[in-house]
Symmetry: C2
């Protein structure tokens, strides 16, 4: 199946999206984390809106992101001595990397974030799934 | 052309998305504005990332949103005596309403926001386009 380029859009939707070498390189990229913050806040807002039946804007707490990253077993890909803020950044970087590289869609992200009551559990499953699916250059 | 339902997704992607009666009802909806804030911050972050060639997270300033709304001639659909914050909210509500109701895609939003140097001009064109395209229930 050939992709059909849409009006004004190259096959790679976002020209700044670059492939990384490995998980550690993704998880420690502060630029990705910065964009990832906007991504996860939007996705989590949609998940919460679905749950409430009304549009709502919210932010994903850093403590939730950090806990989910640990629970998903991804801590080992990071240097020792990282504070909670850096662990949260790592989770945000991975999520938006996966989205930019089309390993996951926004709709799938929102579905995972709305799956159960517990936000940490949802995010942990999402991170686990995404860590398995993301591609690196070889 | 029939829509093909994707895995786990109803034809209407987000169940909380409701049709409104008219522009005023959209522009004054504070719940939509709350979600719209997350939407526009993500879209604007992508636009800026495209421009910088690196991922970056940012926020769209309230003053830019308010000025663009006025410039797009949408002020007249709002009650008199509204502060800048409420005008910014109105712009955010309209943008996410258009996206939720599939009058515009995220990619199109990002393209409009990256079109020219001036953020107000880009946003003004986007709001003008979107205000023409959005649908209401009759």
């Amino acid at each position: 199946v050939k992709s059909i380029p849409q009006k004004g859009i190259s096959l790679k939707t976002y020209s700044f999206a670059k492939s990384k070498k490995n998980l550690t390189e993704v998880l420690t990229d502060k630029n990705l984390a910065s964009l990832g913050d906007a991504y996860i806040n939007f996705a989590y807002s949609l998940a919460l809106s679905n749950r409430c039946g009304e549009p709502v804007g919210t932010k994903m707490k850093g403590s939730v992101l950090a806990e989910a990253l640990r629970k998903a077993g991804l801590r080992k890909h990071l240097p020792s001595r990282m504070d909670q803020h850096s662990l949260a950044d790592a989770a945000e970087a991975l999520l938006v990397y996966a989205w930019l590289n089309k390993s996951i869609t926004l709709v799938e992200t929102v579905e995972e974030l709305s799956a159960k009551e517990n936000a940490v559990d949802n995010l942990c499953e999402l991170l686990t799934k995404v860590a398995r699916k993301v591609k690196f250059f070889s």
